[in-house]
């Protein structure tokens, strides 16, 4: 089994859009996570989510990697976009769509996928 921080980095690096959130798209456990997902949906993003709730170490390791203290955290092509507020603001200004178009193409798939990290 890979160490947790490597698993987290793998998701950030390899998934087109990664969202670290509380819960899953089927069962969102936090208002801000919900807002981030809604904004990404509205922008036509593919979404890969990781639930941080199963183990507090996920959140700690993630904060170490990203330097961002709060949840949710949205990454596009490995780059931190921000939390729910920034994702919403970028949707409203059109920058989110533009960024997705540039990094993933305008005819990108819009699949939603959940990744469960392996916990020791």
């Amino acid at each position: 089994m890979k160490p947790l921080n490597e698993q987290i980095s793998d998701v950030i690096t390899h998934e087109p859009v990664a969202v670290f959130m509380k819960g899953t798209p089927q069962m969102v456990m936090c208002g801000n996570s919900h807002r981030a997902l809604q904004a990404l949906h509205a922008a036509g993003a593919p979404i890969t989510t990781v639930d941080i709730l199963p183990d507090p170490r996920i959140r700690q390791e993630l904060a170490q990697i990203s330097g961002w203290p709060t949840i949710p955290q949205v990454f596009v092509k490995g780059e931190l976009i921000g939390g729910a507020d920034i994702t919403e603001e970028l949707l409203e200004s059109g920058e989110l769509q533009q960024r997705l178009d540039e990094s993933l193409g305008a005819d990108r798939p819009q699949d939603v996928k959940v990744v469960a990290l392996e916990l020791a």
Binding site: N32, W68, P69, D85, I86
Partner: protein
Amino acid sequence: MEADTIRGLLEAAFPEATTLSVEDRTGGGDHFQVTVVSPDFEGLPLLDQHRRVNDALAAPLGDGSIHELRIKTKGTA
């Protein structure tokens, strides 16, 4: 945590802010909306603007006394 405590931390970090408000969204002292308009943010990407606010509130964010934080920032220009 009192909204005034958060306001104090933000005032210390952004002494030149022209707007600085802290709203306790639920009245429970752990869900806050903060708005900061300051020349500090001029020319900074949104990500870095929010980073500055997160840094100012690192202590209450770190010890869990802020459960949910909503941030709105703007430069003054």
